[in-house]
């Protein structure tokens, strides 16, 4: 299916140095519409660095990013968001002291003008939040609940809801099921499948083979900062992918 769908995001020859350390070297990546790409690799293989480059948090030392066929230079996460590229971070990147709705719209709050002053439109935030959570079938007591009062799975759901609130085309998820209770993992994976069915391209970084083999269409392995192996999911096996993580083909 992937080859026929439109190519959304492509990274070519991404290289990233931190001082004398080479975190990434000549890494390539592609993701299509409605496709889920799994990215695996050992700790320090460069997965998180690659995602931070894709989201505009880090600037690559070399290489280029293409979005829908056009080259883009990302100066900040704002740039990638404007393109429709969203990131769900491992540490969830939610402000626990704020309610769900305000987290989902953080940095992009709807406002209303009163005279020449702009005020937050709390009513609109609440309406949009409820509608969006409803769409993704995410159950919470109310959009006014503070995020710190939620369970890990609910927080992850809010983080994913946040990433898709603005018609995202590509969503990147860093270990979306780490730190979740087993019964919550399934809900999050369902949510990822739901995103795929709406045509969103998803990149999932995960250590968990169960996750990869439940939601992904294609899997690629990074090893010591380089592309190590890549395959359609139905043409590989868990044992082979685990081997890639350890640097064995």
């Amino acid at each position: 299916m992937t080859s026929t769908n439109k190519l959304l995001l492509e990274a070519k020859g991404i290289t990233k140095y931190f001082g004398t350390i080479t975190a990434l070297e000549n890494v390539n990546l592609k993701v299509h519409e409605g496709e889920c790409l799994g990215v695996v690799g050992d700790n320090g293989a460069g997965k998180s660095t690659l995602m931070k480059v894709l989201s505009g948090l880090y600037k690559p030392s070399a290489g280029a990013l293409f979005f829908e066929g056009k080259e883009h230079v990302l100066d900040s996460p704002k740039d990638s968001q404007n393109l429709g590229l969203e990131m769900v971070y491992q540490d969830l990147a939610l402000a626990g002291n704020l309610p769900i709705g305000e987290n989902i719209f953080l940095g992009r709050e709807p406002t209303k003008n009163i005279g020449f002053l702009k005020f937050l439109d709390f009513k609109k935030i609440q309406e949009m939040t409820s509608a969006h959570l409803e769409k993704l079938k995410i159950n919470v007591k109310s959009a006014d609940q503070k995020v710190e009062e939620l369970s890990g799975g609910q927080r992850q759901a809010v983080a994913i809801a946040r990433s898709t609130a603005f018609n995202a085309k590509v969503v990147i998820m860093d270990e979306p099921t780490a730190a979740l209770a087993i019964k919550e993992v399934g809900k999050v994976l369902d949510l990822i499948n739901k995103l795929k069915s709406t045509g969103v391209g998803v990149i999932v970084i995960s250590h968990r083979m169960d996750d990869i083999f439940t939601v992904c269409d294609r899997v690629m392995a990074l090893f010591q900062g380089t592309n190590f192996a890549e395959s359609q999911l139905d043409k590989t096996s868990r044992d082979e992918v685990i081997g890639w993580i350890m640097g064995k083909k």
């Binding site: 971070y89 402000a95 704020l98 953080l106 002053l117 710190e148 730190a179």
Partner: protein, 349 residues
Amino acid sequence: MKSLVGLWEKNKMDDKEKKQDSLYVKLIPYFEKYGILLLLVIMILVMHILQPDVFLSWRNVTNVFKQISWQSMLALGVFMVIVTAGIDLSVGSIMMLSLMILAIVAKAGAPWFIVVLVPLFAGFLCGLVNGLGITLLRMPHPFIMTLGTLYIFRGTGNLISGGTPISGFTDEVRYLGHGRIDLTWLGLEKSQYLPVSLVLIAVVYFVFWVFLNHSRTGKWIYAIGGNPSAARASGINVNKILIIVYSLCGFLSGIGALILAGRTDSGYPNAGLQSELDAIAACIIGGASFFGGRGTVLGVFAGVMIMGILRNGLNLMDVSSFWQQVLIGSIIVLAVYVDVLRRDFGTRK
């Protein structure tokens, strides 16, 4: 790692969720919001019982407001900084430097509207220096930058004034700190006036309440305190917001200088000495969390009032100022302990 463990424990607690929804838990948010006002009301009642003739008299009440007027400006500024999980130790020095500049400009014979604007501008610039230092110089913690400027600003104030008081301002300059709004048209006596500084406190606090709760920038200030990396990942320019916060804190200290100039009719080297600690204390008593992201403008106002009433009441009862120090210190510890308890009960761990 800590957060991972925290999340895991939270999941464990899912099953217990229903049990937790007791009346007690439901009351916590209200307690969190209005508990400090309750304390304030209790204090007022106690003081009234102890000093029935004096404490709630028109004269004494306006006196309390006049006394807290400039401290309330510093506390509000420091509060915004604390919400971002920062700290500003330099507010007392900013106020002193702004006051000295005001005095010098006034003595040089500048028109009153210039004299009034100068401390606000000076305070803003001092705050800007703090903000730029913290962000551009990448100081490991705002404590260090503002500890440095605590000395720098006060030293500068002494340098430009020669370390001697400069006294005598015009009525226009003194209006905000010393002015009276006559209420005889309401049928009140001449002595029952409204201090202009009280109106100023109300206006400034209202404006900043709107700013912090109803503007995007205000929301982002809370977000930065809640989780700076979340704010950054949301595309918020964290450094820019921090610079705004420290600049506004300096600006409020400048307003404090203007009020103090009105009250004392003098620029003096010891102005605002250690007042940064009072400002921090008021924020903490008022429920602001040092970890950032928590606290309300109303709470800070209550914190300032509690400290003001405590001092005033103890003075009325002729209690030694040494006891005042002991009591204020105890209230700080108690207030933070209540915050610790609230964290234990109020949020999942």
